[in-house]
Subunit: 324 residues, 2 copies
């Protein structure tokens, strides 16, 4: 599957499944952050998120608790950005037989730490054995009668808003990859990588006040804005100075002795994934309300296609993460 | 986790999660075949099933299509035995980067082959990379206003019924483990292992006519009846002569040159997992209706605890599958 690429493979599967991707029970099928399966008003919001050891996390870089926090937060973010209230998680765990029970305890505690304040239930799961740890997180959300907020509703004239912080997780990953696990000058960005702070309350408010499109920043801001732009048939421009950067990105780049600290910080800001900040589009008349809901205005939706930064094409190498 | 064992670990996690296992949105939480999360009347039925390469399937023993069939059928069986109409699947795929796209095509076709006649939508999923293939199948079912059929409702006097066939998958696994992949004398049981024939229609009818408890045979009949007995606080006795054996078990055991073919066949019948036959309890007055729905009466629920076969303790070594 290396040659097809992740998105190519998903498209290929979608074509092969044809009408099975939708059906009378599916309000919204593949292609967005979560699926909506009709069971109530208007349906249960469901999403699956996989985390694979040594790909999505390393047991040497993150405690079990941190892995649990990141897995739960990332999965629940997918339903939150549909405008849904996260209501439940189902947790699938593949564990090597020699995994310490205390590691599983820590993992569960981390999951619980995210779920508890949100009143999210851990409603089920499955456990199997394997050579590496794999987490499969099925998140469930309830729209409480509202329509889901997809990626496809952005309209020219809308304001682009971001809640949460950008770039911290990518900076933290760079610090971990450089072997600086215990460097206090980098501890804040490492924490951002280990335990993303998803703005769940802001996502809920943005959905309630009438966001036209919403997603979480998991592949990188430009890539995720690209998803919204393509799905909506519109262009998006963002102002780099307005983006809510994670504090201390340039200092982290300097501490890592990167040759171009400012450039590295800008790269993390624009293309860093895994922060699970929330990016949405709202009608311009609601921009002030979105700011009151905890977001900041960072750009505009225009006629056309593509994502620009301060009116210009983004630099090469800013395409975001793919698995293959 | 080897020492804790799968069930011990699940219990441990349940204790640690405490009230997070339930909540206002959870009609039915952990401990049954699927969770019911309130979103409609009375809620979406959700279940997660993991399949790990070289543990739950081997790419050398089964085609990609067969793996897809088994993964989808097994996952949907979990919601069907709650009395729900399977409505959707979300598929999480961990794939080694060198996996052939044609293998993924075959897998998807196998999943579709199960979903299509049931009008089940593939409503979403996730893909990640890893050293071994892992499938995470989230099944969704709709109760259409009925109450879920749990494992806990069996009452003394109820009749135990089985729909589908028992023992074929275990015999097929023995044939594959013996390296007899291409032996025509064993092809029927190998097919039973590769492509379980889940009695979805019978499960639906048993739920609709008032089954008091229901589960699918995934760990082995005695183990799964044990789950019902313990959850219901009742004893269960089955008559071995009435059990719907997969055809040709004794012949398969003979073809494998096992020292005690009849004993091996009985072992597969009583303890073989992965057939995904459906076992239910119904009030005695409904036994005839259950038979009309495609099940056969195989035993009775009595006062007490434990599972007996023709009134006697089952032989040692009949405890069913655990992952660790």
């Amino acid at each position: 599957v290396r040659d097809a690429g992740e998105f190519g493979l998903i498209e290929r599967i979608g074509r092969r499944l044809g009408d099975l991707c939708a059906g009378p029970g599916v309000v919204l099928g593949t292609g967005d952050d979560a699926a909506v399966v009709a069971t109530g008003r208007p349906g249960a919001v469901l999403s699956v998120d996989l985390l694979v050891e040594d790909r999505d996390f390393r047991r040497g870089w993150s405690s079990a608790h941190d892995v649990g926090v990141r897995a739960a937060a990332g999965a629940l973010a997918d339903v939150a950005v549909m405008g849904a209230r996260p209501s439940a998680l189902l947790v699938g765990l593949v564990l090597p037989p020699d995994t310490a029970v205390s590691w599983v305890d820590g993992l569960v505690d981390g999951i619980a730490a995210v779920c508890r304040p949100l009143a999210v239930a851990v409603a089920g799961g499955d456990i199997s054995a394997g050579a590496a740890v794999v987490l499969s997180m099925t998140a469930v959300g309830d729209l409480d009668g509202l329509d889901p907020v997809t990626r496809a509703g952005a309209r020219p004239g809308d304001t682009v808003v971001v809640a949460g912080r950008l770039g911290g997780a990518a900076a933290g990953l760079a610090a971990l990859e450089a072997g600086r696990v215990d460097d206090v000058a980098l501890s804040a960005v490492i924490t951002a990588q280990r335990r993303p702070d998803v703005p769940f309350a802001a996502a809920r408010r943005l959905g309630g006040l009438g966001a036209t499109a919403m997603t979480d920043v998991s592949d990188g801001l430009l890539a995720d804005l690209g998803h919204i732009g393509r799905a909506s048939g519109a262009a998006i421009d963002v102002s780099v100075a307005r983006l809510p950067a994670y504090p201390g990105l340039a200092e982290a780049a300097a501490a890592l002795h990167l040759p171009d600290p400012a450039g590295a910080a800008a790269g993390w800001l624009l293309t860093g994934g895994e922060d699970h900040a929330v990016v949405a589009t709202v009608p311009a008349a609601l921009a002030a309300a979105a700011e009151a809901a905890g977001a900041v205005a960072v750009g505009t939706v225009t006629v056309g296609s593509g994502v620009t930064v301060d009116g210009a094409e983004p630099a090469p190498g800013t395409r975001g993460w793919q698995h293959f």
